[in-house]
Amino acid sequence: EALGDLIEAETEAQRKLAVSNYSGALRDYVGGLRQNLLRAIALTEASIDFADEEIPEGLERQVAHALGESEKALAKQIAGFEDARRIRTGIEIAIVGAPNVGKSTLVNALVGDDIAIVTDIAGTTRDVIEARLSIGGQLVTFLDTAGLRETDDPIEREGVRRAQKRAEAADLRIFLSDTGLFEGKELFQDGDLTVLSKGDLTGEAGAISALTGEGLADLQRRLKDKVSDMTSGAGLVASLRQQELLLGAVAAVQTAQFANESGGQLELVAHHIRSCLTKLEQVIGRIDVEDVLGEIFSSFCIGK
């Protein structure tokens, strides 16, 4: 993109980077990645430009090591893409359970609005109702689904079907029951929550009551932890565009690795490393030729 186009993206990224750099772990990560890539390009360029000085043999092995470390670090970021996507599009939490176990009541209690229509008749929530709120600074969408049950009513059946699909695709499910028997168990995935409802009526220990508020604070705390877990791996990469850059960067590193290991031409190894550096500029900052020369001159005895 022309400078003009890139500028805005860079500004945003740099702002994000500034914020993320408050965390010591991320600062170390960025510093480590930068140093490894700087080392890789510096050793390669040294072998090119200072061939007639006393540059030691076997630098390709050191280059390979530095590139390997960089690849590992980048792979970690890519592994965090799912978490990053969640930050971007919001986390979906589906409330699953039989009709009338108190799903809508719970959603309303959590969100604090009368979004869902709460009545005592089974099958009131016809559609999947979405309620948005912020938990710990992260956008969360609650899916208040139709109660799961066998039904002849084609409209209800459609509602149930839709509910199951959305629940399956959601990031987390809260299974609600007032009896201890959980409908929709087959939708359970690792990490999902089970909650007993209507504690005010059943007197069950550990059950929550949306009406009295008993256990609600505890549930909210558990949800906050869950949300944090689901987004903590996001690291530095949040926008789709930046993810593309990262995928491009790791591809460039891998190409450089291959060229380096197969005894390919040094200027092509350098070309690929530089391509990676350009893509990562938003993350690790610019590495220009003066940085490379500085690294070379402090590592090798180069005369005038």
Binding site: L3, T11, I48, D52, L266, V289, G294
Partner: protein
Amino acid sequence: MKHPDYDVLVIGGGHAGCEAAAASARSTARTALITLNASSIGVMSCNPAIGGLGKGHLVREIDALDGVMGRVADEAGIQFRLLNRKKGPAVQGPRAQSDRAIYKAAMQREIMSLPRLDVIEGEVADVLMASGRVTGVRLADGSEIKGLSVVLTTGTFLGGVIHIGDASHQGGRMGERAANALSTRLRSLGLPMGRLKTGTPPRLDGRTINWSLLESQPGDEEPTLFSFLSERPSAPQISCGITHTNTHTHDIIRANLDRSAMYGGRIDGIGPRYCPSIEDKVVRFAEKDAHQIFLEPEGVNDPTIYPNGISTSLPADVQIDYVRSIRGLESAEILQPGYAIEYDYVDPQALRSSLELPDMPGLYLAGQINGTTGYEEAAAQGLVAGLNAARAALDKPPVKFARDEAYIGVMIDDLTSRGVTEPYRMFTSRAEFRLSLRADNADQRLTPIGRELGIVGDDRWMSFSEKRDGLEQAKGRLRAISATPKMAKAAGLSVNEDGQRRDGIELLAFPGVSFEDLLPLDSGLEAITPPIRRQIEREALYQSYIERQERDVEVLKRDEAWAIPDGFDYKAINGLSTELSTKLVHVRPETLAQAGRVDGMTPAGLMLILAHLKRGVRKAG
């Protein structure tokens, strides 16, 4: 004494001055080269060698524009080595040891033979100005010479001070006086200036060296010359000797560090990041037991040896001690002690890309005065300055070389956008378009441009046109080949079995495929000469990479197209930090692209500048 009027005055007859004077004369401007000493024209102050990695590329480019350095270096070349011969063409750099006497004689002959070029001996004391423009110079003897443009190529002579150990004296080069009046004058003009330093090793008497103990380094069996017009070396060829320092050498040096001018604190200024002297090497890389030294003969009939690798500013008595501790040099005699020289330079950020000083229209600066080191870096700047000085005098617009066109462009952009903190040296890693800016294609890139500008003569143009036609014909034949994978296999080539038809150029891009491998596919290829074959192979090698970089070139050109008008008010931009706006005022970038290269520029800052530029354009349009 009354001097005639000239279009262009070049001050200083070093490597930059000679190229400047030659380029100006070729541009048909009436040119005068003013030098302290006419018999010093073409002297190599330091290493008797031309070229290298990055430097060799510059020489090829100078030659492609019909400059003098390449041809002179070939005539004086006594040992030719193509560096990185076993690596890819893009990082191969031609280099040659020079016979100093032949180099000097050849350069003087070139200069004296140019029409419209007068050589005047004298010391320039002042640059004359009227109505804010340069009008000529005044010599120390009071006489004045009028010129429409003036090119300053004073090398290490401006305020030059030579240090040997704790003794120092003014001088531009050993045995030659400094240009002090001019130095004082420039400082008084308020130009941003600084001091740089460089060192040189002791010169040894080759007759007192025990060569039998030492390894020898001959030149390449098939020498690669600089000029596109040269065919073969003319001088006798020699070998260099190789030796090393040892721990005893290092002990001597370490024991006397306080007596070194550069280390003893007698020279100000931050040192370069590399090691300009043996003192630096011994101190900074103490764990190294031995440092390599190349013993370079200064001429076929000259016993002087230049020991490359032991530059120093230690006193003469220490020099003899540490020299004699080196293998093969146990009985060596020193003909001239090594020394350090510090000199004035002008911050090149003050310059336009044409190398003109905007504060003094008509004044151009080129060479070491701009903070570079190396004959080649100086010569390339000289060519640009001389060319532009002439064009200004002849009422023509200035010429600028872009970063994607030439190493010359990379260098001038680096200097004017970033300035220098240490003497600037060219390396291939400075060029982001290194794969396109090769030594082998300098003529294809620049000779047509030079011809358009009128500085490429008929001989060169004829030779180049012939070569270009040959290349086009050959490429045409190759493109006419249409080979299926089966056909390629039958010819002995291993290509992807993907059913795709490929032409000759695409086949050459496969690793290990040479031009000769294609002969079975078209017997007509037999007629194509080896040089053309090799050139096409080189181009095929990088073709796909260069195509991939086309995008980057487009971006560069697009941002180069955003011109920033003179006097653009950075201070008026809300949101630009004071630090940044001060830098921008200092650098005065000519385009948005160049602004982006200013140290510390942020994307947010560029966005603000762009917004203001657009507003200006809207107002104008």
